[in-house]
Structures are given as structure tokens and as C-alpha cells.
Amino acid sequence: MGSRLSITLLALAALTTLAQGQDKSQEKSSDIIARGEYLARAGDCTACHTAPEGHLFAGGRAMPTPFGTLYTSNITPDPETGIGKWSADDFYKTMHSGRFPDGGLIYPAMPFASYTKVTRADSDAIFAYLRSIPPVNQRNRPHDLRFPYDNRQLILGWRTLFFREGEFKPDPTKSAEWNRGAYLVEGLGHCSMCHSPINALGGTSQSDAFKGGLIPMQNWYAPSLTSNREAGLGDWSIKDITDLLQTGVSARGVVYGPMAEVVHNSLQYLSDEDTRAMAVYLKSIAEPSPPPPPSSALPTTESSLLISLGKTVYDKNCASCHGTQGEGKPPHWPPLANNQSIEMESAVNPIRMVLNGGYPPGTKGNPMPYGMPPFAGLLSDNEVAAVVSYIRTAWGNRGTPVSAREANELRSAPLN
């Protein structure tokens, strides 16, 4: 039985390789470059490898981490300071194994734990695209990591614990569309880099993939993609999911913060088919039976006072856009009633939205987004806590109240 399965898988793999080989020989080099550009968008390479006001893919962007600051590398085809001397093999090895061509270890801020799932053909296309862009002579800046994290040998330990090398294996029991979505989400999309809890070692264990977590250094909460109590999309329509991914706004909610960046740089450029495939996959990984909500840590009298103050603050400042019943005017003024990102256990995102406001990304589908005003200067810590407690518990929302202290702590959260 086991050997028959292996043979079938081998045969499947052979067929896939054959198909890819045929595709490759028929594909013109300009088509490969165009496909590579598309895939580089899907992988959001520019988010890290292009500095603000810097040249495309010339690196030099500072990436603050809990272990110090990393500076991203130049991936233009400059032979001296970029990847001009690399071969397609070198590039694939970097993407697939997280090692430089000379075997050196790459810091896992580069999402090679996701990119390892990328196929050889896709890796080659991205490489062909990167070879086609203008070379920029700009030397890589050395990383600035604290002892002992400046010792690259430590990466070996991280790799043993958290890195599983290997290309994406399609699930033959699922549709081609589902598999395409899974390939994009788990591979180039590297969604698990944020949407998984980060442990003290800076890694994500396989069993925690997509279960949500606070993004280190940014202090935004990346909600779970598997829990319907967070950003699980189990009860969303496919259209609402594709709207959110492609345009940044939807009838169910709007993207802000780090997810606005992902939609802006990457997801808005994906084809309708790929976006739909991601939606189908994301909808399928949501858990059907969510765990019960946690009970509030705040005493009841205090929370009822907070919530009654919260209603006053809400009616005065928020209801004109979000509606007296939290119904909003979707997609531009998002609903707050039955909005998972308001109700979920972590109140970080709703508190930050009240304090800092924000614009969804400007996209092809929504080029002039409506913005939420920042209230940090208008509301006290107590008022912020009150209004967030109110929206988390009103209109049937099943969130819990938050304290003025939680609101105060997020006033100093980094904004960029």
C-alpha cells in the first residue's frame, strides 16, 4: 500500500516536471520575465528589498528586529554589489534552502521558510526578472545585531527548530484552485511570517501556523487565519475575501497597518484567478468550532461605567460614519457590529485604530480610499478605553472591555 502510494506520487511528480519542462521550453524569455515580475509581486520582494526613496531592489532598508537591526540586500543584477554574478541555481538555493551561494546562512527575516515551497520554474522566472532590471551599484550595509545574535551559527539552531525545507506538495484530494491558493499563501505570500505567534526564539512552530500573533517591533496584532473569532474567513463570502485582498476594502472589513502594506505592494497586482484561489484556500483553513471567548479581566462595575462612557464618546465621535448601530457604510466606512477584528481577544488593533486612525491602501480597485481620523489628541486614555470597550461589546459583539492602561501603552507604539 505504502509503496503503491509512493509510486503514484513519483509518477505524479514526473508528470508535473514534464509539464513544467514543456512550459519552460515554450515560454519566450519576455514572457518569463513578465511572469517573474508578477511572481516577485506575489512574494512582495519590494517591501524589504527597496528602501524609501531608494532604487528598486537595491536594498538598504533597515529592518528592526528584537535582536537588532538588519539591512536588506541589493538584489539588482549589479555584478559587484548585487546578484549579477549569481546563477539561477544560486538563486534557487537561496530561496529554497536559505543559504547564500557560498553556503553562508541567511537570517530568517528573509522568509525562506515559506519561499522553500516555491517551484524551481517560478524561482527561475523571478531570477530572470531580477536579471532584467537596471543594476544599481550600492554596497550592502552590515547588519547591526546585538551579541550573541551577531553570530550566524545561531541560525543553525533556529533552522533545526523551525525550518522544513521542501517545495509545495499539492494535495491530490483538493481542487487545483485550492492547491494554487495554498501554494501562494504558504509560499510566495509568506502569510505565516506575521499570522503566526512568534515565540521567544523568533520562530513559528509548524502546529501554530496561521494561528495569529503580535508582530514584533510593530505592535500590530496579526489575527489568526484559522479562527473564525479572529480573521478566520470561514463565514465570509468568496467575494468579500477577494475584495479585501485586491482592493483593501470589503463589506466585512478593511485592511490597515502592515496588512495595508501587503495589499498595496503585492496583493492588488494578483490576477482575479489567483486572488480567488487564495480566497478559496483561506476560507477552507478556518476552524468550524471556535473556542469560547475568554472572560473579562476587569471588574463588572468598572466595565459597566466604562461602557456607558464609551457610548457617549461613540455617539459624539464615531456614529456619524460607523452608524448608531455599528452598521457603517461598507465598504468605505467599515461596519463595527459583527466585525471580527473588533471582537477578537487581542484589543491591540481596535485601540490603535482609535488612537492613530489610518487609510486603507490606495489600490487599482480603490484609488482614493476614505480615511479614519486619529483620535490620540482628542480622547483621554480613559475615553479611548471606554469607546473601544463599547464597540467590543455593543450590538451583539462578543469582545471584552479594555483598560485605560492598555490604551495608554499603545500611545507609544511605533507608527512606521
Binding site: 524609501p52 526613496e53 502594506e261 487609510y359 484609488p367 476614505y370 486619529p374 507608527l415
Partner: protein
């Protein structure tokens, strides 16, 4: 009986469908720039007239080119103010241009100048620098670029009226220390580099006392020649 119930049900379904269609067309935010820039209003006022916070500038009536340059600089992080950098980070150029045009086209009245907190001597020193400069120290007069009426020039030179002393002084300080920069040649950095702290206090105080002119609009491009090149003001 059954037929009547079915008929009523059909009516209800039709009404519900009608409601749904109506909701889709009318239950949307106003399709206006005013509604889109509401995120700006807690700090800059409903029409960009400014608020009681002296560090937040008036935007209304400034040349659109100047406002657009600032939006670009905040988006890229060249001009540093985290709440602004954050709001603009993922907005495309044409939208920032539309925002700049919107506030440039708003003309709420200029505020009454507040009484100054500095001495007459300091104000006189400020007036001298602003209107005549100090050739010996390579300081041009403010009016030589910002216009005889201090209302600015299209498309890139801002008017200096309707701003509070605290804001002007903070900005001149940022130029002096290199925290605020602009496209090369960075004329304001060159000018501010020659100013002392006392100069900054005096100029900021005097500018904040200026009453509204009859015509607060920026003068057209090329109305006068600039004393030196400026990256923000194409020739």
C-alpha cells in the same frame, strides 16, 4: 387564506429586494474629497484652517504644488512626523495630488493674529530679517521668495500667513538641524543654516503677528525672480 399569505410574502420579498437595491446606491459615504480627507481634520481643521494646537499648520490656500511636495515627503519619510508618515504610507501619487488641490482650493478666513509674547525689540529684529534680510550673514529676506505679501508663489512656495510662532519656529529649527529637508538645491536649509536661535524666535514671532492681506492667494508662477535656485520651485 394560503394564497393571501403567499401573496403577502411575495410583497415582502419584493420590498426587501427594493430596499436592498436602494441601500446599495444611497448607503455610501459622500463621493467627495471633503469626506475622503476627514482623517486630516482633527489636526488641520475641517477646511484646513488649522486647530487650536499651535504646532499643527494651516493648509488652506497654500499652493497645491507645495502641499503635494509635503505629502510626498511625509509619505517617503523624508519629512518626519510619524502620525503623518503612517497615514500617507500607502496612498498613490494621484490621490495625494487631489488632496493637495483640495486644500489649496479651500479659503476659510485667516485667523486674527494672536498678541505676541516677545518684546518690541525682538519683533523689530524679526521684521528687519523678514523684510530686508541680512546680506552680511547671507540671509535673504523672507519676502524675497515668499512674496512681498508673504502669500507665497505658485506652484511650490508656501505663504507664511495664518501660522503660529511655535510652528514656524519648530520648522525653522528642523531646517537648521537638517531634520527637515527638501529636493536639492535645498534653499530653506541653506537659509536656515545661517540663522541663530534668536533670529528664529524673532522671525517666527513677527510673522505670526501679520494681519490678513486683502488678497491672501499665492501669486502666479514667475511673478518675481527668486534670489537663488530652489529644488521645490521649478523655473
Amino acid at each position: 387564506m394560503f394564497a393571501r399569505a403567499a401573496a403577502s410574502a411575495a410583497v415582502i420579498v419584493t420590498l426587501a429586494a427594493f430596499d436592498g437595491a436602494a441601500a446599495q446606491t444611497t448607503n455610501q459615504p459622500p463621493d467627495t474629497m471633503a469626506a475622503r480627507v476627514e482623517a486630516c481634520t482633527p489636526c488641520h481643521g475641517n477646511k484646513g484652517e488649522g486647530t487650536s494646537d499651535v504646532y499643527f499648520p494651516r493648509l488652506a490656500g497654500k499652493p497645491a504644488g507645495y502641499l503635494y511636495n509635503q505629502l510626498l515627503a511625509f509619505r517617503s519619510g523624508r519629512r518626519k512626523y510619524p502620525p503623518m508618515n503612517y497615514l500617507l504610507e500607502f496612498l498613490p501619487d494621484p490621490y495625494l495630488e487631489a488632496m493637495a488641490e483640495y486644500f489649496a482650493g479651500e479659503h476659510p478666513p485667516l485667523p486674527q493674529p494672536a498678541p505676541s509674547e516677545v518684546s518690541k525689540d525682538v519683533l523689530a529684529q524679526g521684521e528687519l530679517l523678514a523684510t530686508s534680510g541680512d546680506a552680511g550673514r547671507n540671509i535673504p529676506a523672507c519676502v524675497s521668495c515668499h512674496g512681498p505679501g508673504l502669500t507665497g508663489m505658485q506652484p511650490g512656495i508656501p505663504g507664511l500667513l495664518g501660522l503660529r510662532a511655535a510652528y514656524i519656529s519648530a520648522q525653522l529649527g528642523a531646517w537648521r538641524y537638517g531634520n527637515r529637508t527638501a529636493r536639492s538645491p535645498d534653499c530653506m536649509q541653506l537659509v536656515a543654516g545661517h540663522l541663530t536661535e534668536a533670529d528664529v524666535t524673532a522671525v517666527a514671532a513677527w510673522l505670526a503677528t501679520r494681519p490678513a492681506p486683502t488678497n491672501p492667494a499665492p501669486v502666479p508662477k514667475g511673478t518675481y525672480a527668486l534670489p537663488f535656485g530652489c529644488g521645490s520651485q521649478p523655473n
